[in-house]
């Protein structure tokens, strides 16, 4: 448990601040004060105050860019833009360190060449989660992309509709995936494949489509022909 983690989480107990943080995260890029004020319907000075507070506690970070396209003297100061900080915050009470445990377990799996066992476990867990989704009431029909999106949102993937599919903005296993990419991304892929099959989502496929800054798994609608 760190003081900075507590400050970050504490800052989000203020409702407007929480809405602003969500707005910036869901926007996915850089947000100006004016955009944030418009999105939340709050007064601009108040929005600026809360955005800066979110920066102070390390949840957002600031970039400065001229948005007007004007150059040279008299074109004004560069606008202050806000985006999500790459910093991770964790608060667990009592103190727990599952991350170190995950890294050690991953190291052991690699040393033993036991990837297949991990993938099988991930697939089974995914199927359980998918079945729970099916039970929650989309009926016998397979869930559509909108329902899957809502479910993956709950799982922390921050899915975004893109064409006939979903891209995942957040990797829930980020630090593990950075240290053990094939292992952690393979595990994640099998988790999602299991979830889709457990939920009866037969018309979509999860596959590896890694790109810098995104989760490595992409969910796409199958071709009908």
């Amino acid at each position: 448990m760190t003081d900075s983690g507590i400050e970050a989480v504490g800052a989000l107990s203020e409702p407007l601040r929480r809405r602003l943080y969500r707005y910036v995260v869901e926007h996915g890029g850089e947000v100006s004060r004016a955009e944030a004020a418009e999105a939340t319907g709050a007064q601009r000075n108040l929005v600026a105050f809360h955005l800066d507070k979110l920066v102070e506690v390390g949840l957002l970070e600031v970039t400065r860019r001229k948005v007007s396209g004007r150059e040279g003297p008299g074109s004004g100061r560069p606008a202050k833009l806000y985006r999500r900080s790459a910093r991770e915050h964790a608060v667990r009470l009592p103190p727990r360190d599952y991350e170190t445990a995950a890294h050690l377990l991953a190291e052991a799996v690699e040393r033993h060449g036991a990837e297949e066992a991990l993938y099988a476990a991930a697939r089974a867990e995914g199927a359980r989660r998918g079945a729970a989704l099916a039970d929650r009431g989309h009926g016998p029909a397979s869930p559509d992309l909108g329902e899957l999106r809502a479910r993956l949102e709950e799982e922390g993937y921050e899915p975004v509709m893109e064409g006939p599919g979903l891209r995942l903005r957040n990797c829930p296993f980020h630090s593990l995936a950075a240290a053990f990419p094939p292992l952690a991304c393979g595990m994640n892929l099998e988790l999602l494949r299991g979830l889709l099959s457990g939920a009866g989502a037969d018309d979509v496929t999860a596959s590896m489509r890694p790109a810098p800054g995104w989760c490595c798994v992409h969910i796409s609608k199958n071709n009908k022909d």
Binding site: G113, E115, E116, A179, P181, P182, C185, G186, L189, S207, M208, R209, P210, A211, P212, C216
Partner: protein, 154 residues
């Protein structure tokens, strides 16, 4: 523009000869993944066999051992290709095609920009890494080392 590039060697112990059905999935990926490497940001060079587009015919480490030797402009360029491109799918499935080796099978080292490493140099770096662990002369993705700083101007 850095005056050093990153050299990369990895070797793989084949589970079966390349022309066996068990290896068909791997063989099918060779051309597309090599083409992807060639067009990836920061790619500099990769080893090819005599008159071939890939290095599958280069068996200097053993009859059943494939060699992959390449040079990249930066550590990030190599990392992004290895783990943040379609190459990741091949990495994920590597146990289908390659037997796990007890010893290190990958080594990275910095070379002066423009230098093309040969397999002897690569073999020495892997031996060094296996013997001494990570050092600026031979390291891995697990223990990245910064590029040597530019030589002071005369």
């Amino acid at each position: 523009m850095s005056d050093h590039h990153l050299a990369q060697l990895n070797i793989g112990l084949l589970r079966a000869p390349l022309d066996s059905p068990a290896m068909a999935g791997f063989v099918a990926l060779l051309d597309p993944i090599n083409a992807l490497a060639d067009t990836s940001p920061g790619f500099v060079w990769r080893l090819r066999g005599e008159g071939a587009d890939d290095a599958t015919g280069v068996r200097v480490f053993g009859e059943e051992i494939l060699v992959n030797l390449s040079v990249w402009e930066t550590y990030e360029a190599l990392w992004n290709f290895t783990y943040r491109s379609d190459h990741l799918e091949a990495m994920r499935r590597r146990r289908e095609w390659f037997t796990r080796m007890r010893e290190a099978f990958l080594v990275l080292w910095w070379v002066p920009a423009g230098h093309v490493p040969d397999v002897e140099e690569a073999r020495d770096r892997l031996a060094l890494f296996r013997e001494r662990g990570a050092s600026p002369a031979a390291f891995s993705f697990r223990d990245p080392m910064p590029a040597p700083s530019a030589a002071p101007r005369a």
